[in-house]
Structures are given as structure tokens and as C-alpha cells.
Amino acid sequence: MAAPWRSLRLVAPIWNRSTRGIHHLGGAVDPESNQKKRRTMLQYLSDYFYDVESLRGYFLQNEMVKVHQKNRFRDKEWIRPDKYGHFPQEFWNFSEVPVEAVDASDCAINYEGLENLYLLKELQSLSLQRCPHVDDWCLSRLYPLADSLQELSLAGCPRISERGLGCLYHLQNLRWLDISDLPSVSNPGLTQILVEEMLPNCNVVGLNLAEGLKLGPEEQPRDTDRPVPA
């Protein structure tokens, strides 16, 4: 198990930039989280191999669900690990509360690690922003979350292309999808249109439709040096 410990040390310095300790959560808003300033329960999946083992202990309980639904979308704080990757002690008291939102931005989560998300039957929001190993194969693993997933963010993942986005069709409950800044998508404007057609109930965000469009001939800036217009 040498690998997970090594990567913990690698990831820790990056956390310090955006992490506030659990004591500072009062007024803090995670800058990379979704734009609506909603704060829900969060597990930082720092290392899929290590931390997600701890997620295996979570079970659904009816009374907790009701309490939770009342308190949902209200000032609940994100739970983050400290710089050593350890979750605070209070965290373990919540072991029976269903996990609603996972923010795995910038994580080294990969194909095998996504399997761990299957246990989270109530997952509503998943953020995989800028994950370097999430590719088209990984997107084909998201379908078990179809019943509950409402928000998904894939912004900035370097390996996702338009071929993998077709797999998101299974997520029929999706209401908000962020596919901005995907460098491997060949034609972002057309892809956005096709994804919007594919998921009519979903608000697809992120791709600038004017990207890649060239000015028409009338609008070309006049270049007086050139005898022949470009």
C-alpha cells in the first residue's frame, strides 16, 4: 500500500490552497464548487484508494433521510480532511447519513476508483473537475448513479472527448451538466448542441457556442496591404 501514502503527500500541498480547516467553515465558500452557493455534505475523495474505504460504512436510514431532506441545501458545511488527509473525528458520527454530494475535483480518481461510488445510492451532485485520469471509459461507469444524480461537472478533464459524453444519456435525472473547457472535444459548439438534444431536461453549461466560429467574409477586417482579400 505504498502508493496511496505517497500520493497523499503529493496532494496535500494543493489542498492547502483551497482547504480551510473544519473550524473555518463558517463563512468560507469553496471557490471551485458549483456556482450556486449551496453547501451540502461533502466527502473529499482525495485518494480513491484510501478514503473511499471509509465510505463503505454508509447505510441509508429512513429517519436520517427525512431530517436530511429538511436540512438539505441549507447551511451545511463541506467536510474536508486536514492536511494529512485525515477526516475529523465528528465525521465518523455521520456514518449513517447518506452521502449527497461528492467533490472529487483535481483527484487522481480513475476507472477502478469510480466503482466505489456505486454504493452511494443517494448521490445527487458529483464534481469531477480537472481529474487527469477521467476519460471516456470512466464516463461509461456513471450509469448506476442514474436514479439520483442531478448535477455533474466534468469541466477541465483533459481526457474526455465527445464520444464519452454519449454515455451521459443514461443519467436521465440530470439537471445540470458542466462540460466546459474539455480540451479533447473536437468541436465544442456542435457537441454542446448534440448533448443538449440528448438530455432535454438538463441545463448544459459551459461550452461557448461562439468558440471556433470564424468571421464571415463581410466581417473580415479590411487589410489594405493585401491586394486580394483573404
Binding site: D136, W137, S140, S161, G166, C167, N187, E197
Partner: protein, 484 residues
């Protein structure tokens, strides 16, 4: 080696000693032969003193000669080099007749991969290949070369079954799930909900692969394998195998019947457009010649004998021509459409972002086109493919064919499944062919199986004992029902 040494006119062997003389003796003939042997081992080529350029010829000897440089041959070469006991232990030569791959099935393939087979071994092979392709940049990484982009599309396969096939499909899906494939069954109503563009008339059941299924770029896989395999030290050569020279020995079976076992020790590789050939001494031959495997097998004497005997059992692989058509349909299924395989055998899939679709249909036995050339028959699309497409997907009533091509299946007429493993009589010829349209998707697994058979002596990862050649003689069919 030894015949050549003898032909140089040395009458005495290395180990004779002149009687009566002690110590170092200036035996000129012996010294000369030793010098010649040293030069020969240092420089490749037939000629002892290379009077002419022989760099285009394959080497004099190789441990394993792989006939056929398509995806199966390259996969076998890769795994042989991966599993060899010591680095550089196996000298592998890949002989490919056409290095432009203009007729190779691997290059002309649609590139689909799915696990929805009726045979557990096929499912295992496909799963293995899917995980190989998923981690392809770890397997086929070459120093200083850019990573491979397979352009994998993970949208899965959707197989439709009519009333009479529904029970078989249900059983198959149960078995596929047991083997670890992620497949779900859908009723016609669920199908209509999921894919509103399908006309579910005549469909009783559908099976949809959710993970590890889709399609990719076979040319990228081929080039990736070739690049990696060359970096591992496999020798490539362009040539055609024209002759096998083998030695035979007679053995007695337990029932006191005499059996002639053959062992190929030389492969003659003929160069293109010339009569020049190079005899390559070898110890193992792998027949991965795809659609032309039967010709290669016939060169080794497989099938030459009275019918209904093991000697007379031919390799039942023949080339079958299949057409692929590309059409444009602006109102067709969207980005999410899987590869749909209809009850009639018609299949199609989306290609790219621009509403283009690829598809085709396997002809029935009576309609089989002549495999002599790769000309496309456009009337086949008009008469046999389009009606079924339009019936299944009403949007396809208006479409425009843009392009078409044809390729070969290495079709196993016996049971449409591959042949893997050694021949019982020609003991050092191994087969990796006959996959009848699903060879590309099983290539990594089959290559590994052949390499394990050669290096370890038995199948280790996936047990392909039922794919051996002997089933043709024994008549044990392992029929694969689900092929396009």
C-alpha cells in the same frame, strides 16, 4: 546449421583429434569452418561473405515465425516478447505479405468490441481485450513516442431479438452476467422509452451492453502494436510464405496405429515481385494469416490425406467478403445511439458528430459474394440492407450513401469460432485465426493465449482448450450464435 557446415567440405567433425599429436594442432580446415561460422552468426543473410545487399531479406533463423502481420499476429508477437523467460530469449519474425495492409481484415474492420457472446470463452477474451484497450498506453508505451488515442466510443451494443430468439438471448445474457459482462435486458416498452427512434415491431427482447463495449479505431491499435513490437525487438519482413520444409517421425498411438508427426524446421519466405526467397530456420510457426490461413495450412500438408482422418482434416477457414456502407442522415439517432444489431442481421452505428452512420448486413449463405476481390456491390445496400434499416429506424427512410468498402472475414465454416493452439500432427504450427468477424476484439486475449501455449505449454489466463484444431476432426462444434 549442421548441413551447411558439412557442405563446406569439412570431413572431420569438431571433436575429432589427430592421433599422436599432443597440444595445439593447426587444423586448417577446422579453423576455416569455425571462422565461417563466426562470420555467419555475426552477419545475417544467406551468403557467407555478403556480396550483395540482403537487408530486405528476413534473417537466417528465428525461433518463432509468425505468418501474418495483422492484429492477431502482432498481438501474438507482443505477448511472446512479454512472456519470454529471459529478455531476448525468443527471436520472433513477423512475415507480412502486404505491408500497406490494403486487404487486411484488421485495417478494414469496424472496430467494435462487445461481450455479448454465447460462449463463456469468447466473453472472457472480450473482457480481457477491453481491459487491455483501456490500459493500452501502459501496455504499448514506447519511449519518446506519443501516447495512443484509440478513439474509443463506449456506447455499447444493442442486440434485438425476435420472439423465437428471445429465450436464447435471455439465457445468454444470464451467462454473460455470470462471466462478468455488464449487460441489461430490455423489453420493447423499455426500449421505446430509452431510444424513441427505434421501431420495436417484431422485437421481443433487447440486450444492451452498458460497460466495456463500443467501438474504436483498429488502425491505431495496429500501428500501436507494430511500434511496440518493433521496439521489443521483433523483426518485421515483407514476404510471402511459399514453402515449409519439415521433418517427420513415425510414432505409434496407444491403439497401435501408426501416426506421422511432422515438424516444420524451415520456412521459405519469398520476396515480392521476384523469385528470391530466404529459407528461415525456425522452431515454431504461428499461422495468423487471417482470411488466407487455409492456404498457409495447406502448404504445411494440413488436410492432405484421406477424408475423415486427422491427416485429411483441412483448416475450415475461408475468406468471406463483407460490405460496410457509410451514409448520412440528418434526422437519425443522436449522440447516444449504441451499435444496433437488428433481428435481420443488419447493424449500424453512428460515426462522429456529423450525423454519419456506418453499417451493413451479413449476407445469407445463398447471397455470399465472390471473395475474389474487394469490389463493393451497391445494389446489396439498396435491396438487402436499406429496407431493414428503414423498418427498424424510420428516420433512415431518407438517407444518402456517402461511401462504402469491403473487407474479408476469416470465416470458420465449421462453427464461426476461432482456432487457437497447435495442430495435432504438425506439432509446431500454432493457429490464431478463423475468428469470423470478431477477431479484432479478441486479439489481445488470443495473442496472450498463443504466447502462453508456446512459452508455458498450456493456457493459463483463459482456457481455450475448446478452440483447438482437433475439434474439426472430432466434430465437436462450439457454435457461436451471436455474430454479425
Amino acid at each position: 546449421m549442421l548441413p551447411r557446415v558439412l557442405s563446406l567440405g569439412v570431413r572431420r567433425g569438431r571433436f575429432t583429434r589427430r592421433p599422436g599429436r599432443g597440444g595445439f594442432s593447426l587444423d586448417w580446415e577446422e579453423k576455416l569452418s569455425e571462422i565461417k561460422k563466426k562470420i555467419q552468426s555475426a552477419l545475417p543473410g544467406t551468403s557467407l561473405l555478403p556480396l550483395y545487399d540482403s537487408s530486405h531479406l528476413p534473417p537466417d533463423h528465428a525461433d518463432v515465425v509468425i505468418i501474418g502481420g495483422g492484429v492477431l499476429g502482432l498481438s501474438a508477437a507482443y505477448w511472446l516478447k512479454k512472456l519470454e523467460k529471459q529478455r531476448g530469449a525468443l527471436r520472433v519474425l513477423v512475415v507480412e505479405r502486404d505491408l500497406t495492409y490494403s486487404q487486411a481484415s484488421s485495417a478494414l474492420s469496424l472496430g467494435g468490441i462487445h461481450q455479448q457472446f454465447s460462449l463463456p470463452e469468447n466473453i472472457q477474451l472480450s473482457l480481457f481485450s477491453a481491459s487491455f484497450l483501456r490500459n493500452i498506453n501502459e501496455h504499448l508505451a514506447v519511449v519518446d513516442a506519443p501516447p495512443l488515442d484509440l478513439q474509443f466510443n463506449p456506447l455499447g451494443y444493442l442486440w434485438l431479438a425476435s420472439e423465437k430468439d428471445a429465450a436464447a438471448m435471455e439465457n445468454n445474457v444470464k451467462m454473460q452476467r455470470q462471466e462478468g459482462a455488464k449487460v441489461c435486458l430490455m423489453s420493447p416498452d423499455q426500449l421505446r422509452n430509452k431510444f424513441p427512434w427505434i421501431n420495436t415491431e417484431g422485437v421481443a427482447l433487447a440486450s444492451y451492453g452498458m460497460e466495456d463495449e463500443g467501438w474504436f479505431d483498429p488502425w491505431c491499435l495496429l500501428q500501436g502494436l507494430r511500434r511496440k513490437v518493433q521496439s521489443m525487438g521483433v523483426v518485421f519482413c515483407q514476404g510471402e510464405v511459399t514453402r515449409f520444409v519439415s521433418s517427420s517421425s513415425r510414432m505409434m498411438t496407444q491403439n497401435k496405429k501408426e501416426v506421422k508427426l511432422k515438424r516444420i524446421y524451415e520456412v521459405h519466405v519469398k520476396m515480392d515481385n521476384s523469385l528470391e526467397y530466404q529459407p528461415v530456420e525456425c522452431s515454431i510457426v504461428i499461422n495468423a494469416a487471417g482470411a488466407w490461413s487455409a492456404q498457409v495450412a495447406a502448404l504445411a500438408g494440413i488436410g492432405k490425406g484421406p477424408p475423415d482422418t486427422l491427416q485429411g482434416t483441412k483448416l475450415p477457414v475461408e475468406p468471406r467478403k463483407r460490405y460496410v456502407y457509410v451514409w448520412h442522415c440528418p434526422q437519425g439517432p443522436g449522440l447516444e445511439s449504441p451499435l444496433v444489431a437488428d433481428t435481420s442481421g443488419t447493424y449500424f452505428r453512428r460515426e462522429g458528430l456529423g450525423s454519419n452512420y456506418l453499417g451493413g448486413r451479413s449476407p445469407t449463405e445463398e447471397e455470399e459474394p465472390d471473395p475474389g476481390n474487394l469490389e463493393v456491390d451497391h445494389d446489396f445496400f439498396q435491396d438487402k440492407v436499406w429496407p431493414h434499416l428503414a423498418q427498424r429506424v424510420p428516420a433512415f427512410e431518407t438517407l444518402k450513401v456517402q461511401n462504402a468498402w469491403a473487407g474479408y472475414y476469416d470465416y470458420n465454416t465449421f462453427d464461426q469460432n476461432g482456432v487457437v493452439g497447435p495442430h495435432p500432427l504438425v506439432v509446431n504450427m500454432f493457429f490464431a485465426t478463423g475468428f469470423s468477424g470478431h477477431g479484432l476484439q479478441q486479439a489481445p486475449g488470443v495473442g496472450r493465449a498463443v504466447a502462453e501455449m508456446i512459452v508455458e505449454g498450456r493456457f493459463q489466463t483463459i482456457n481455450l482448450d475448446s478452440f483447438l484444431f482437433s475439434r474439426f476432426y472430432l466434430g465437436e462444434k462450439i457454435q457461436e450464435d451471436i455474430i454479425i
